[in-house]
């Protein structure tokens, strides 16, 4: 009707991600190393529970990315209003259309919080409503998508840069190493949060900008780890042997170095995920985070604790969801690190 829309892109991305994960699972099924990893992971009950909960969150985020518009009958189109034409995601469809009140209402309340008028949907708002009457549960479920976008998008941006720079510096050494080390020590000497803020203020606000800024502060750590590991790998006998047999540098890097770095990439990202999500919420406080994220919700809820009687459900819902997301990511990350490489130490 209106040509290509944002929600088309997002549907496409979901399809792509699903395809990639199915392909990955298919490949991993026959890979000895992957099977061993899964078997070891399954033995840790806490980690499995955390992974299950985390997958559920990923599922919510994916479901919130699949959207389509409902057809509006010709004769109603005139007075249906703009809402009827807006695409609704799978998560939106869990709730009835126009599932809102005019202002606050407590969880499961039948009357409005202020004024005591009966609600339009009495007893249906399990977690209450926000200041503009949106259902808190609905808002909270929608918060998982920005968090996952931050995690996934930043990761996609950072991995190629960190691998290329880290491997080049570690493998070839000398001048390249000096330059790469200089760049990352310079970036590392600026306090993270200040660098984030400066980057976003200069680049402007938006999802892509936030991800780029988080990426700039994230690749430093990963690049440092990859460089150190490459330095070690370069001296190993099988790499020396490949050199002696006349293999080209490109082939050695692609066949022998990069595949042996992947555990570090995986570990640092599972561990970094929680850092990314927590920092996005801090950016939200400065008004430069993502729209609808948990951070934004918590910041909105800031003044509600000062009201009398206190309005606690918005803060409670958003911070519990954020807490569970970060907690499960941390537990899974620790398990992955222990299984793949217990020696990688993180300071954060």
């Amino acid at each position: 009707m209106l040509g290509w829309q944002d929600y088309h892109t997002s549907n496409l991305v979901v399809a792509l991600l699903l395809a990639i994960s199915v392909a990955g699972a298919w490949y991993g099924r026959h890979n000895l190393f992957c099977r061993q990893f899964v078997r070891d992971f399954a033995r840790r009950r806490l980690a499995v529970a955390a992974a299950a909960l985390f997958s559920l969150f990923v599922g919510v985020a994916l479901a919130d990315s699949i959207a389509w518009c409902d057809p509006v009958a010709e004769e109603n189109a005139e007075n249906a209003g703009i809402e009827a034409f807006r695409p609704r995601t799978l998560i939106d469809r869990l709730f009835p259309r126009d599932f809102r009140e005019s202002a606050y209402s407590a969880p499961l309340a039948t009357n409005a919080f202020y004024g005591d008028q009966p609600l339009k949907h009495p007893g249906k708002h399990v977690l209450g409503t926000t200041i503009i009457g949106h259902d808190t549960l609905h808002e909270t479920l929608k918060g998982f998508r920005p968090a996952m976008i931050i995690g996934a998008f930043t990761t996609l941006l950072v991995i190629p840069i960190a691998i290329v720079m880290g491997v080049l510096a570690g493998y070839f050494g000398r001048r390249i190493d000096d330059v790469v080390q200089y760049i990352y020590s310079t970036l590392a000497s600026i306090p993270n949060i200040l660098l984030l803020i400066a980057l976003i203020l200069v680049m402007g606000r938006g999802t892509l900008q936030v991800c780029i800024a988080l990426g700039v502060t994230t690749w430093v750590g990963l690049c440092r780890l990859l460089r150190a590991e490459t330095l070690k790998l370069r001296e190993l006998e099988y790499v020396q042997a490949a050199r002696a047999l006349g293999m080209s540098h490109t082939r050695i890097i692609c066949r022998h170095i990069v595949p042996n770095l992947f555990h570090i990439v995986l570990i640092s990202f599972v561990l970094r995920f929680s850092w990314l999500v927590l920092n996005e919420s801090i950016l939200s406080y400065f008004g430069i985070g993502l729209e609808g994220s948990f951070g934004a919700m918590i910041v909105l809820a800031r003044d509600e604790l000062a009201r009398e009687p206190v309005i606690w459900w918005n803060l409670a819902a958003a911070s519990t969801a954020l807490f569970l997301l970060v907690l499960t990511a941390n537990i899974v990350g620790d398990a992955v690190r222990d299984l793949l490489d217990p020696r990688v130490r993180t300071a954060e």
């Binding site: 020590s185 310079t186 000497s189 600026i190 803020i197 604790l305 000062a306 911070s319 941390n330």
Partner: protein, 326 residues
């Protein structure tokens, strides 16, 4: 020794210059002066006012070099933004804020005191508490106490700082009225600082305990500990005399990483608790798009970090002569 210190200081110089160049790219090449002027003056400002503002702040000047002068004259380089930016930052002539022209250096001098009254207790008490807890947990390594300690640390790490602040303010200030909700007063600073300091210590505790515990446990597994145990040294004494002493080296490094934040203050804590420190200065700069102030804060943060790094390396070399020689 002197040679080592000089070498180390010289190594910090290019880093500071690199930070300055990065700031130049961000704020003078990438940022659009017109957009900056609009943000400072408001959307409705006329073209003339905007152009005036840009001229006044010097954003319209040539960036790398000034073609008005011949290449051989000094003015070719010195009458351009690049040179001025480096010159004014390195000589601490930060100039005025983009918003109200208030001298940035004065604002920083006023803010440093209140910031330090919050961050120093967090740093000192927080470090002592973290080391104590992690030693305790490491002493019971492998037992239920250790596991419980680690799990609580992960739980504590997963809570976003706002929740600590808001819950702390709600219970300690508004319900039980132990501390004021926010504000600052030099005469009775401790009352205003107590709650933010408490929150600051708690937020850093989870990650800190986990990290320090790893270091301690690593030390416990070293050969010299086994030797000490074979000599008949008691477990408690091993912990304090051997493990703690040797574990202090990596701990020292991680402590230095926190030094810039000591000085810059905690952005969030100062804001929520209304403490007029450097964190508030930064927050206001972000809020009002005051790029001049933000630039200076980033620069100072980096300089303090580099100085801190040099100081650790030097103190390291006192403790461990191997560092000096390599």
């Amino acid at each position: 020794m002197t040679a080592y210190i000089i070498r180390r200081v010289l190594y910090g110089v290019p880093i500071v210059l690199g930070v300055l160049f990065l700031l130049f790219i961000l704020f003078f090449l990438y940022a659009d002066p017109e957009a900056m002027a609009r943000k400072a003056l408001g959307e409705k400002a006329s073209v003339e006012v905007i152009n005036n503002w840009i001229r006044e702040k010097g954003y319209d000047r040539p960036r790398f070099f000034n073609p008005k002068y011949p290449v051989t004259e000094a003015g070719f380089w010195t009458d351009a933004i690049l040179f001025d930016h480096f010159h004014s930052m390195l000589t601490l002539n930060f100039g005025g804020s983009d918003i109200d022209d208030y001298p940035i250096l004065d604002r920083i001098k006023q803010g440093a005191g209140p910031s330090l009254t919050v961050t120093v207790p967090i740093f000192v008490i927080g470090t002592l508490v973290t080391i104590a807890v992690s030693l305790f947990v490491a002493f019971f390594r492998g037992s239920y106490i250790d596991q419980a300690g680690l799990f609580v640390s992960v739980l504590a790490m997963s809570v976003v700082i706002f929740v600590y602040i808001m819950v702390g303010q709600y219970f300690f200030s508004s319900q039980w009225r132990w501390f004021p909700i926010s504000g600052f007063d030099r005469a009775s600073a401790w009352r205003f600082v107590a709650l933010p300091a408490l929150v600051g210590i708690i937020t850093n505790l989870g990650g800190g305990v986990r990290f320090y515990r790893t270091i301690m446990v690593e030390e416990v597994n070293r050969d010299y500990v086994r030797t000490a145990r074979a000599k008949g040294v008691g477990e408690v004494q091993i912990m304090f005399k051997h493990v703690l002493k040797n574990g202090m080296l990596p701990i020292l490094t991680s402590l230095v990483m926190q030094i810039p934040f000591l000085f810059l203050g905690s952005l969030l804590l100062e804001n929520f608790f209304g403490i007029p420190g450097l964190g508030s200065v930064t927050y206001d700069a972000i809020d009002q798009n005051d790029f001049a102030t933000l630039r200076v804060m980033v620069f100072i943060g980096a300089v303090v970090f580099v100085i801190g790094q040099i100081l650790t390396d030097i103190s390291y070399s006192f403790v461990d002569p191997r560092v000096r020689l390599s």
